[in-house]
């Protein structure tokens, strides 16, 4: 029997009086899957996460985590997950180690699990009061609090905000290791580059609605590529005209630049009969994909 999905929502909706929160969010996240939840600030990412965690109650629809109802069985659910809230805070006077001590007791864990190893890895100071730490260093402590007990599901709200590039890389490696361990990861972000590197699938949320859920490879495959090609016989570039998917073709000085929408295979086959001096196909950043989506759906 397949295990229950780590997360499964059906028409999840949260309305704040006349104000929109999220509306009809339906998604599923399998065990061991890394899912990126993308959208600009105010799109509804944090509202979705807080509803999954039972911090806020849905107006309608349902959410199940590990097959358990997010509302009625939230305590049992939280025993199996780790969460990094957006804009992590815990109080200025407490140290990370004090927070860890309390969380370990609440989870019924003897000791701090892998917290010290993670602290060394992220160069986090667990002994200074959190109020004396920079935002990035507080965020490291928050990551350790979310992951020290090796949960089955990680819910991370804007996890790399405040982290320097080296620590962002280390964080992405950690997420990869968590996936290897079988942990499902739900990452909300507007840092599109990090999602591109680590997620199996992405959901794009806009104005409270989930407008698309795509496998990362499909999303990138659907996207346009910007191609530049130089041939030994410049006349051969004319063979690109009229090829399916080729748009915005410009030929000058023996070089062609164009955009390929969809499969690149016809282009490769057309060029194969010529002596290619140079070829560059720029993969679009997820940001470009994301903006394209927003533009199209809008």
């Amino acid at each position: 029997m397949n295990p229950a999905p780590a997360i499964e929502t059906e028409g999840l909706t949260k309305l704040y009086g006349p104000h929109r929160g999220i509306e009809d969010v339906t998604l599923a996240l399998a065990a061991g899957e890394v899912f990126g939840f993308l959208g600009p600030n105010g799109a509804g990412k944090t509202t979705t996460i807080r509803t999954l965690l039972d911090l806020i109650h849905p107006s309608r629809g349902s959410a199940r985590l590990f097959g358990l109802d997010s509302r009625r069985e939230s305590v049992a659910i939280r025993a199996r997950l780790g969460n990094l809230p957006g804009d992590f805070g815990y109080g200025r006077q407490s140290s990370g180690r004090e927070a860890l001590g309390l969380l370990a007791k609440l989870r019924g864990i003897d000791g701090f699990g892998r917290a010290d190893a993670l602290a060394e890895r992220f160069r986090a100071d667990l002994d200074r009061p959190l109020g004396e730490l920079s935002r990035g260093n507080r965020q490291k402590v928050g990551l350790i609090l979310a992951t020290f007990h090796e949960p089955e599901l990680l819910i991370l709200d804007e996890p790399t905000s405040g982290l320097d590039p080296l620590m962002q890389q280390e964080f992405l490696r950690l997420i990869g290791e968590e996936r290897e361990r079988g942990c499902a990861v739900f990452i909300s972000s507007h840092e599109l580059d990090e999602v591109q590197r680590v997620c199996d699938r992405v959901g794009i949320v806009r104005e409270g609605r989930l407008i698309a859920v795509e496998r990362m490879v499909d999303l990138l495959g659907k996207a346009r590529r910007n191609v530049t090609v130089r041939l030994a016989d410049a006349d051969g570039l004319e063979s690109l005209r009229g090829l399916p998917g080729v748009v915005n073709l410009r030929i000058a000085d023996g070089e062609a630049t164009f955009t390929v929408a969809g499969e690149i295979d016809p282009v490769v086959k057309a060029l194969a009969s010529h002596h290619v001096l140079d070829l560059e196909a720029v993969h679009p950043s997820l940001e470009e994909v994301f903006l394209t989506y927003y533009t199209e759906e809008g």
């Binding site: 911090l55 806020i56 305590v75 939280r78 809230p85 815990y90 109080g91 200025r92 609440l106």
Partner: protein, 263 residues
């Protein structure tokens, strides 16, 4: 008591460890000073008080000031200590719930497998312990002042006097949790409950000053506060107010369980 509850109470008390001295020291030193000066003002104060209208004396719980216990009650235990403890109680629960929500700590705690009701229960019980500790420090310093000055304050009645404040303080802790069920803003919770605290004192005072309005005193917890340093602790009032405080805490935790905790 569950391990989770013990851990939450210990964390709450650790966060508020400074408040025991911050509140216990001034209240204790003030009480010690009152006790210490009693031998030197005893004669003159009795003459002055004898001239007060009887209604006024009853309203402010002054009565006779012929011994140091009566003087301590009139100067400290009838007004300053109960108001201070009531305010401390609401500050304690407000910081443990509304303050935790504002700092993000509540989000972190609720990432763990612990119910909101347990967090509320821990806040309420920890506040009860904090109040008891503040009262114990105050009593100890008061007794020290008595010993040093030779005022002759009786330890048992003095302990009863301070202990009698405890359920009153606890009631405002329970009320604080109820208000947290509506809003998780520390300033609003503290301000609203402090307003109720002062209002209850004024209502009780009005009821004492005007016998035709004595019925309004039932709306105030101060009606059940009494004068434990002279009369001993009234068990029914002590248990009754503690029970109402506990019921309020239950009601508050039910409200908090049902509300959204916004970012």
């Amino acid at each position: 008591m569950s391990a989770q509850l013990r851990a939450l109470i210990a964390a709450h008390l650790s966060d508020r460890r400074r408040s025991v001295l911050a509140w216990g020291l001034p209240l204790g030193l003030m009480s010690a000073f009152i006790v210490a000066i009693f031998p030197s003002v005893e004669d003159s104060i009795s003459k002055v008080v004898d001239k007060y209208p009887s209604g006024l004396k009853e309203a402010f719980g002054i009565g006779q000031l012929s011994n140091v216990e009566q003087y301590l009650h009139a100067e400290m235990l009838s007004l300053i200590v109960p108001l201070a403890l009531g305010y401390l109680a609401v500050r304690a629960v407000a910081s443990g719930l509304a303050g935790a929500s504002e700092s993000g700590r509540l989000d972190v705690l609720l990432s763990a497998p612990v119910s909101r009701r347990r967090i509320c229960a821990a806040g309420f019980l920890a506040t009860g312990i904090e109040l008891a500790a503040v009262l114990a420090v105050s009593w100890a310093l008061t007794m020290l002042g008595s010993v040093l000055s030779g005022a002759g304050l009786a330890a048992g009645p003095a302990a009863a006097g301070f202990a009698g404040v405890w359920p009153l303080g606890l009631l405002f802790a329970g009320l604080g949790i109820v208000v947290c069920g509506w809003t998780l803003r520390t300033t609003i919770v503290t301000g609203a409950v402090a307003g109720v605290l002062v209002s209850m004192y004024v209502v009780d005072l009005i009821g004492k000053l005007d016998p035709s309005l004595s019925g309004v005193r039932y709306a105030s917890v101060f009606k059940y506060y009494g004068n434990a340093i002279e009369d001993g602790i009234e068990p029914l009032a002590f248990v009754g107010v503690t029970a109402v405080a506990t019921l309020l805490a239950f009601a508050g935790s039910w409200l908090i369980d049902r509300r959204d905790i916004s970012a």
